[in-house]
Amino acid sequence: MSLDKNEIAKRIAKELKDGYYVNLGIGIPTLVANFIPKVIEVVLQSENGLLGIGPFPIKKELDADLINAGKQTVTYVKGAAFFDSATSFAMIRGGHIDLTVLGAFQVNERGDIASWKIPGKMIKGMGGAMDLVASAKNIIVAMTHTDRKGKSKLLKECNLPLTGVSCVKRIVTDIAVVDITPAGFKLIERAPGVSVEEIVEKTEAPIIVNGDIPQMQL
């Protein structure tokens, strides 16, 4: 069975370590916050100027001055700090964020990522994604393995405009966990009930399969 959005987020949450400062992108990455293990402490950074994002507010506490990078209303936790955008990207560019999770249209076997533009169709802008991928020490992409037409999103070469090059370390999709290694894609885990053959078939680029591939533990 392929994973749903929440299950992808749940799997990514297992990558978090105690003491991590984490930037979660819009979409599936935002859901990761719901699955942070209770035994560890993780601080969520929002690039619009908040360190220490809390859960969504209750209706009575809605505050126009308190949003995340997806422009959703949020709250803040104890020990939070607010700051301007230059300081926020000093955190990001300066390598102070331990883990960045973001969505993508395509990733290639060298870890290049395309996530911001579909020529002739979508011109929303890159927001903070280019800064994040150019700076983060540790980048995990959350996306479906194939697009709506069934085309693979794990490619030899991206054909959409790039967001950054040689930056993605790991991809968590609805059917697999794939690492980017110097030798290309490498299969790490498969979704429960998904066969290695299916993953290989749905991955356009060559993918290294070494020995038994374990099922994800969710």
């Binding site: 949003i67 949020v74 607010f82 230059a86 700076s135």
Partner: protein
């Protein structure tokens, strides 16, 4: 040094067609809504607007777009605005997209007298086209240049008559750096107090960066996506 002006119209004195503006805010959070409304009323045209976003169709910079007052946007994300996309695809509007952190740093650099600086964002992408590329410690960087504006227009929570500003929560965002980078910087505030009433250790934007300040009336502070847990 009393920098108080009566309202947005007095604050915008000297604003002319074809000028370059910086406007603070992230989405609709922390935008100078009174000054934007006043510019809409004034009908000034041909503006180049440096702003992280472009508002929504009927609020924020969207109302200037709707009247075709904006010639060019320098932004990082403009995705919440259908009219924007239409004008862009039709060629009525020019847009220069910047990585968000690069945009923030370009504004700060403009205010801080730093004409250019290197950042890694955009290396290997179309953003790098035409830019100087240089390697430092084995990593590739682009040379980016400073931005300044004829008017920087920011919104703060509290301000004093000397122009000192304090922002609230995530409504700071681009306001602090843009305030530094305006030839004339206008600050609209929710609460204006006499100089001496703000804690001098808790000022986000020191008054030297602000030329005109006014207290806006009845802020709408619209919420773009009201997400709740109940």
């Amino acid at each position: 040094m009393n920098k108080t002006v009566m309202d947005a119209f007095e604050a915008l004195r000297g604003l002319e067609d074809n000028m370059t503006l910086m406007l603070g805010g992230f989405g609709l959070c922390g935008i100078p809504e009174k000054a934007i409304q006043a510019m809409h009323n004034l009908g000034v045209k041909g503006l180049t607007c440096i702003s992280n976003n472009a508002g929504v169709d009927d609020f924020g910079l969207g109302i200037l777009l709707e009247r075709h007052q904006i010639k060019k946007m320098i932004s990082s994300y403009v995705g919440e605005n259908a009219e924007f996309e239409r004008q862009l695809l039709s060629g009525e509007l020019e847009v220069e997209l910047n990585p968000q952190g690069t945009l923030a740093e370009r504004c700060r650099a403009g205010g801080a007298g730093i004409p250019a600086f290197f950042v890694p964002a955009g290396y290997g992408t179309e953003i790098a086209e035409g830019k100087e590329i240089r390697k430092f410690n084995g990593k590739m960087f682009l040379l980016e240049t400073a931005l300044t504006a004829d008017f920087a227009i920011v919104k703060a929570w509290k301000g004093d008559t000397a122009g000192n500003l304090i922002y609230r929560h995530t409504a700071n965002n681009f306001n602090n750096m843009m305030a530094m980078a305006g030839k004339i910087t206008i600050a609209e505030v929710e609460e204006l107090v006499p100089a001496g009433e703000l804690d001098p250790n808790c000022i986000h934007t020191p008054g030297i960066f602000v030329q005109r300040v006014f207290q806006g009336e009845k802020y709408e502070k619209r919420i773009e996506f009201a997400t709740t847990s109940d």
